[in-house]
Amino acid sequence: MPTLVRDLEIVPDAWTLVASGAVPAPVPARAILPFEEWRERRAVLPVGRTGTWVEGDVEAEAVGPHAANLPLIAVHFPAFADGRGLSLGALLRTRYGFDGELRAYGDILPDLAQYLHRSGFDAFVLADRRSAEVAIASVGSITDHYQASVRQPVPAFRRR
């Protein structure tokens, strides 16, 4: 069963992902809408109550300006080896100041968790509980890295 990890803990998922072309009316609370459909409806949705999902190759420039009005952005990873979502996440956090829940879902290998965590994702959906536990452990498997990241904006060489 898909298992949500938020802030490195397994938690129940209160949100519902809505597929393209399947947005119910009225939009229920805590729905994650496809980005285009969220954008079309944003004037009539209660402020800060509906999330959106995007593919990893969406332009950060398209989503970023809406960051302040979004409580949750979910980034879909079509394949775990597709690193576009990592750059998107880093841009949403650092350039657009997004401070809501940044969630990765799709083909999330537990070993990707350390990269997600460091690129600004605070939530990821794993295939099952065991994978979720491995993902949490993997984030802590390296104490410190050389370069700066969203999580640690000061590179190691400035902290020596």
């Binding site: 597709d82 750059s87 880093a90 498997s141």
Partner: protein, 559 residues
């Protein structure tokens, strides 16, 4: 001379050691999950590749990182020991200055990594779609024509690229090279990013070439930035990598390298994209501090060379007495920037031995010579040879005798038989054709040193497939293995070159069977000898007369 004084390698601190130790534990846990059936083959593939482990035709192959080709005698001895304990007692020097062992069992790779970590070595990012080992001039720090020693900058980039949070899952593999000398021995024109290092006044500056590469679509890199001050190195690289990670193609692995993106966007648009991205990153926390640059530069400071005199008279006498020593001096010994010293290349290109293959005994011997005839440091060049950077001239003859006894003194450096060759179909599952037997046949046919010296510098490169690990596009003579209805054939190109005036070889015409290759090379050489003007080198001759005269001779009787 002892190993303790003036060893020019990056000195690990607690931080560096902890990182590689934890990386070993991380990989051990990944291997255990795979063996327990928790990871599929495809999932584990991506994880093991990021640790240098390929599953090859005959067995796994482990690629060990030798950052920018520099290692200590202690590290080379450890490699010899690893090759004995876990392998069949030999290793392979690669064209990216790394070392491969060919028979490690998947289950024991974590133990090999643990042994490597004890001598500050690892296999991190030696394969997979990530930033690979950064390479440079194998003569860095000692070459007489050097402007700036690029090794500290290679090390800074190695650290920055190690498990980068954003750039470890790229569209495709990513290779960078630095060159800080007048001659380009690092092939910066045919790398994803090639960086030319120079000095203006007191400041070190970089020129960036992007989108060069070999493989299926060979390309010469485009200059997108010149004179970038050193403090901006990492932020500018981040900007390039971010543009590539976001926009590089992922739908077709053959179109996923950055060269395809640069070509599709045009170099000008690509440059503008990078500049726009860099505006946000410039002067941020990843900007290098003078203290950090200084810390790394100090690791590579020249040793305190004991004063020595040039030994012209002694060497002249020895050379006169021994024609073989004379040939070795002429080809394998280069000028050192300090009087009384020389830079020696120990060739692995002995006929009958696959180019780049070295035994454990040879590795131990080279390590001993690095201590005895230097400061305990040595290099691996991208031509798959060892380099001893600091040999006192008075010891050259003694070193030559020892190297000769170990089969490491072939005096063919830069000559036709100093062949650069990938492992090919004998070992590699990607290869279309074998490459090692072709190299050996050529070495056997052209074994007359007088003839080879008369021919002068000729770079011959062989790749067993279009992935071009043997860099055939930039060989003066480039040989590519192709598959023709299940049979192995070889396409031959002329006029490639990887230096500052880089060019890609032009294909002669239809490919040849393996039996024909040596004869074709012979015909090509005859045309050159007939056509050359005085001492005109092969490459210049090909550039002047074009490939038509060669084509004519080679296909003359083909009907």
């Amino acid at each position: 001379m002892g190993a303790a004084s003036g060893l020019q390698v990056y000195r690990y601190e607690e931080f560096d050691q902890r990182f590689i130790d934890e990386r070993v534990a991380q990989y051990r846990e990944q291997t255990q999950r795979y063996l327990a059936g928790e990871l599929t083959d495809d999932q584990f593939l991506q994880l093991r590749l990021r640790n240098g482990l390929y599953i090859q035709r005959l067995a796994p192959m482990l690629r060990i990182a030798v950052p920018y080709g520099t290692l200590s005698s202690e590290q080379l001895r450890a490699l010899a020991e690893i090759s004995r304990r876990y392998d069949k007692g030999y290793g392979h020097l690669t064209t990216r200055q790394n070392v491969q062992i060919n028979w490690p069992a998947l289950e024991v790779v974590p133990d090999i990594l643990a042994d490597l970590a004890k001598v500050r070595m690892h296999c991190i990012q030696t394969s997979g779609s990530c930033i690979r080992n950064v390479t440079t001039d194998q003569f860095a720090g000692v070459a007489a024509d050097e402007r700036v020693d690029a090794r500290p900058y290679c090390e800074i980039v190695r650290q920055w690229s190690t498990q980068h949070p954003e750039f470890d899952w790229l569209p495709r593999k990513f290779k960078m090279a630095f060159n800080g000398a007048a001659a380009d021995r690092a092939a910066i024109h045919v790398h994803d990013i090639g960086i030319r290092v120079d000095r203006t006044g007191d400041e070190v500056v970089f020129d960036f070439l992007v989108g060069g590469g070999l493989g299926r679509t060979p390309a010469i890199g485009s200059v997108i930035r010149t004179g970038l001050p050193e403090r901006h190195l990492l932020t500018y690289l981040e900007a390039i990598m971010r543009v590539y990670n976001r926009y590089g193609r992922r739908d077709n692995k053959y179109k996923a390298r950055i060269k395809i993106l640069v070509r599709a966007m045009t170099p000008e648009v690509f440059r503008d994209r990078v500049d726009a991205e860099w505006e946000h990153l410039k002067d941020g926390p990843s900007t290098l501090t003078p203290e950090e640059i200084d810390r790394v530069v100090r690791c590579f400071e020249p040793p305190a060379y004991p004063r020595r005199e040039d030994q012209a008279a002694l060497l002249a006498e020895r050379r006169l007495a021994s024609p073989r020593f004379n040939a070795w001096m002429r080809n394998n010994v280069a000028a050192h920037k300090v009087p009384g010293y020389a830079v020696v290349t120990l060739s692995t290109k002995l006929t009958g031995v696959p180019p780049g293959d070295v035994s454990d005994v040879q590795m131990d011997a080279v390590a001993d010579w690095a201590d005895r005839f230097g400061f305990g440091e040595l290099r691996i060049g991208h031509e798959q040879n060892f380099v001893l950077p600091d040999v006192p001239q008075e010891h050259l003859f003694e070193l030559w005798e020892r190297a000769d006894a170990q089969g490491l003194a072939s005096a063919n450096l830069g000559l036709l038989t100093d062949i650069v060759c990938c492992p090919g179909g004998d070992y590699c599952s990607l290869a279309n054709a074998k490459s090692i037997p072709v190299a050996e046949a050529i070495q056997r046919e052209f074994d007359d040193y007088d003839y080879l010296h008369d021919l002068g510098p000729i770079e011959l490169n062989i790749s067993g497939c279009m992935n071009a690990c043997g860099h055939h596009h930039v060989g003066h003579i480039g040989i590519l293995g192709v598959d023709k209805k299940g049979a192995e054939f070889y396409q031959i190109a002329l006029g490639g070159h990887a230096g500052e005036d880089a060019s890609l070889g032009k294909i002669l015409g239809p490919s040849f069977s393996r039996d024909e290759v040596t004869g074709v090379i012979g015909k090509i050489l005859t045309v050159y000898v007939d056509e050359r003007i005085e001492a005109e080198p092969f490459l210049h001759c090909v550039r002047r007369i074009g490939i038509a005269p060669f084509k004519e001779r080679v296909y003359a009787n083909a009907g």
